[in-house]
Amino acid sequence: MVEFWRSTIGKKTFVAVTGTILVGYLILHMVGNLNSLFGPTGAEPRVDWYAGWLRELGEPLLPFAGALWIVRAILLGSVIIHITGVVQLRFRNRDARPARYPARKIGRSWESGVMMTSGILLAAFIVFHILQFTTLTVDVTPLHHEQVYFNLYNAFQEWYFVAIYLVALILIGVHLRHGIWSLVQTLGLDSPARNRGIRYGATTLTLVIVVGFALVPILFWTGLLDAPEPPAATITAIAGGLTG
Amino acid sequence: MRLPDAKIPPGPLEHKWQAWIDQHRLVGPNNRSGKNVIVIGTGLAGASAAASLAAQGFGVKSFCFQDSPRRAHSIAAQGGINASKDYANEGDSVRRLFADTMKGGDFRSREANVWRLAELSENIIDQAVAQGVPFNREYGGQLATRSFGGVLVQRTFYSRGQTGQQLLLGAYSALEQQVAAGNAVVHSRHEMLDVVIVDGEARGVIVRNLVTGEIERHAADAVILASGGYTNVYYLSTNAMGSNVTAAWRAHRHGALMANPSYTQIHPTCIPQSGEYQSKLTLMSESLRNDGRVWVPRKGGDDRPPAEIPEDERFYYLEERYPSFGNLAPRDIASRAAKVVCDDGLGVGPTGRGVYLDFRDAIAQRGRDVVEVRYGNLFEMYENITGENPYETPMMIYPAPHYAMGGLWVDYELQTTIPGLFAIGEANFSDHGANRLGASALMQALADGYFIVPHTVAHHLTADRESVSTTDSAFDTAQDAVESHITRLMDVGGTKAAQVFHRELGNVMLDYCGMARNAPGLEKALTEIGEIRENFWSDLRVDPGRDEFNQSLEYANRVSDFLELGELMCLDALRREESCGGHFREEYETDDGEALRDDERFAKVTAWEYQGDDGDPVPHDEQLSFENVKLATRSYK
């Protein structure tokens, strides 16, 4: 394993595996977010129910929010490995070419050339994003614990939050359009018979992810999703939901 | 000096090689690493020899002038390699391959050598396959074969149109495996400039490190020259730019005899020359003649596009003159026939030196798809070079110098007249007589390298010899000679690049010592070469700097040897007053223009001895005897 990590191909394989984990998480996250589309749905918005479910998952085997913490650990680990891998590779790759001679672009996609940039910006976005919706530190619009629908609704009434999220999604698109195809190649899962399909598949999956995420801020902002009940009512509703 | 014995083992032809193998002496495995062999060249012959000797445990030093051993000229061979495996169930056999090769060479080769070659041919295929050479396969996974110029059976194995490449990469990787194992060392970008002879035996070489310009000395117990052929003496040839005669010629100057130097092969299917600036000619594989039909317009100066020339105004000269072989006539015959029609003013193309190779009928009969599968990459290559699409208009081809049947004289053990100096592959004169059949050079280079010299050199190494050090005075003398030759080249101080003289030499050689030769022409050539040589030594300019990377010096050095070789070729062609194979003397032809051999006087190998810069080379004859084939007039009619 250590030797594997030391080699260029091994390192790249780690990047690909962690990338896959991150993509997997994104898909789940997107599906979760799409629960908002059900709207406030009376007492408990469906997305809030989902958030609660996430935390209860595995109970009583796991403590409250145990599964969530496992997921968080995996994600954090993946991001760290992913970034360490790409940074180390980048240094190697830079050494392999004389400094003053950038390689002319012959046919490579521009996305492939900006993976580092799109990745770093993504990292910045993720930090900001967690500060906003998870720790509720970026408390510009009213934010309340465990009231996802409420938080989203309020945040996405502001055009600049919508803009930040849409830009982040474009970054995701850029990163993944190369990334998803690339991971298949890195893992050596390609074959001449499948390659065309893999290319299309990567682009489609990227689109699905980007559009799937984008629906949420857009629909909130355009007002197609109704305002949630005021917070107090929701709390009782949750309590009711938990006991009932 | 008398020509030494060719050391052909007694006994029936079929058993000679086995008999030799059975009696040869061996070096014990523990003693082998102390015995060193130098191999010059990493083509098929050199790489296979170096890999095989190293695998046996001998210490091998291998040299080539390219930047990697994988780039040796053998890489360019396209068509295929012969072996008498008879997978096609046509009754092919060692005897048949032997007989075809003897006849193909117009009965100017040694029976014993040719038999051994045919015998070893099968092992070569087995060896190559084991190395991972991807020969073409039939459905069902069996090896595929095809027929190739001048034979009636399908015994040619091939890897698309890149057989030489694949075989060479096989030998190269076997060599690299030995490098990794520590048994062999490869010195690339090193050019051998002299052999070192101690007590009458070849014991080392002087090489120039082409990167640093340093003159290095290397000592060994035996030296193998696998330095390839010399057809670049014609300037334009199908050989790689770097192919040269230097290694062989420097050995010749030390007493190794040069046999049949005038036997050169002009290959019939090459892309014609398009201008003065051209640096080399490109071969189009002979396999094209399996489906392409060769013709010229019946009327001279007919400049209609070929498609508009009606059938009855086309002169399919090969089919008319050689009905049974037709377009598949051997190379020397097909080449000369092309020259004859062009000399008669029927040639096509801007220079009038071209004939059509037409696939119209093949496409009509078999369909474009089939033609594409068979020749797709060759058509692409043709289009890439000429800008014309051979599916639509016929290819234009013309003969070009291609292969040297002549070379250093060797005995049955492939040893030259200098003990301890062996010559293999195209560098020796051995197996092809006066003309080489298609797909047999690869066979010979690999038979020599894999299966013959590893035994004969090992045998040579059994003798006890004192180890020599590179401080031996013989090395001093050799190095001094090399240095002073370089100084001489550097000091001419003229104005012209070596290329200019090379081009002039090539023109003379092609005109007078090419596809057709005659006494007055050869005399004239000798005078003209003399003049070129004088000009060379008074008007040459090489870049300054001998202790550095200097390509103009490398080139000039090679041309200086070509100039001397050219003279010897003309002398040899003059002396051989007969026509045989690739050597066609216009004075000796049958009534219908075919080669007329003189077996009484010339069933011989002529080996030339060097006599110093001013002396006239002395010929020595080796009588050939034919006990197993009938000396017949070669007929492909």
């Binding site: - | 690299e176 300019r541 390509q551």
Partner: protein
């Protein structure tokens, strides 16, 4: 045809290089790029100036010796070797930039000549089957389906030119190494060393200082032999399997009952 050439001049490995301008006139459109350089060199000789060093041998696209970067593209505009690039591919009067293959692993020897021996060392690490000279099995006893042969051949035709390295923004030799591993690992004759081959060739590739692959795909776009990126997928797969499977040097021991 007339051209202005901006040619990279560098005296030796250590020296700083620079571009030098030359004009060439009256070039035949059918002349190859290298023949055009020959003509330039002949003229430079007459003018008693140092000739431009460049590598070539076969001049028919098979030996892999020629190695120019023409107008920023390794080998030139048409995805054929430098020697197969013809002047008719350029516009009359054009300015053409000529430089050596650029890679830290290919130090410049002089002008346009580089040292690509790193590629040989990658082959030394495992680019062979273990067969040494001697009696071998009858080839037809190990049939190879034509499709497998074709695939192996598609990879085996790599000419070792190194253009893939020169084109790769990471200076990676993945296409070259992948081609050899694909060729041998597909064939039955290459099975015995299959895992070791992938391991040691990749190790050597890294040791030489080639970069890592980020799947840019430029290598395959300049490859004169049109080697497909699939060989990189194959190399990744073979290496991963070999590295992550049990160390062959340490096989499970058999237990006596």
């Amino acid at each position: 045809m007339n051209f202005t050439l901006e040619i990279w001049r560098q005296f030796d490995t250590g020296e700083e290089g620079r571009y030098e301008d030359f004009t060439v006139e009256g070039i035949d459109p059918e002349a190859s790029f290298l023949e055009m350089l020959d003509q330039l060199n002949e003229r430079l000789t007459e003018e008693e100036r140092r000739t431009v060093a460049f590598d070539s041998d076969c001049r028919e696209g098979i030996c892999g010796t020629c190695s120019l970067v023409i107008n920023d593209t390794p080998h030139g505009p048409r995805q054929v070797t430098s020697c197969q690039t013809y002047m008719r591919d350029f516009e009359d009067g054009a300015t053409i930039r000529v430089e050596p293959f650029r890679s830290t692993t290919f130090p410049v020897i002089r002008d346009l000549v580089t040292d690509r021996s790193a590629l040989d060392r990658v082959i030394q690490a495992g680019g062979y089957t273990g067969a040494t000279t001697g009696p071998q099995p009858e080839p037809n006893s190990m049939p190879v389906a034509p499709e497998v042969q074709e695939k192996a051949m598609d990879a085996a035709i790599c000419i070792g030119c190194g253009a893939c390295v020169a084109a790769c923004p990471n200076g990676a030799a993945m296409l070259f190494t992948g081609a050899k591993v694909t060729h041998l690992n597909l064939l039955p004759q290459g099975q015995a060393e299959r895992g070791n081959r992938a391991n040691s060739m990749v190790e050597q590739m890294d040791e030489e200082g080639f970069g890592g692959c980020t799947n840019f795909g430029e290598c395959s776009r300049v490859c004169p032999q049109e080697i497909s990126l699939d060989v990189i997928g194959m190399l990744n797969r073979e290496y991963r399997k070999a590295r992550l499977s049990r160390d062959p040097k340490d096989p499970p021991t058999m237990l006596a009952q």
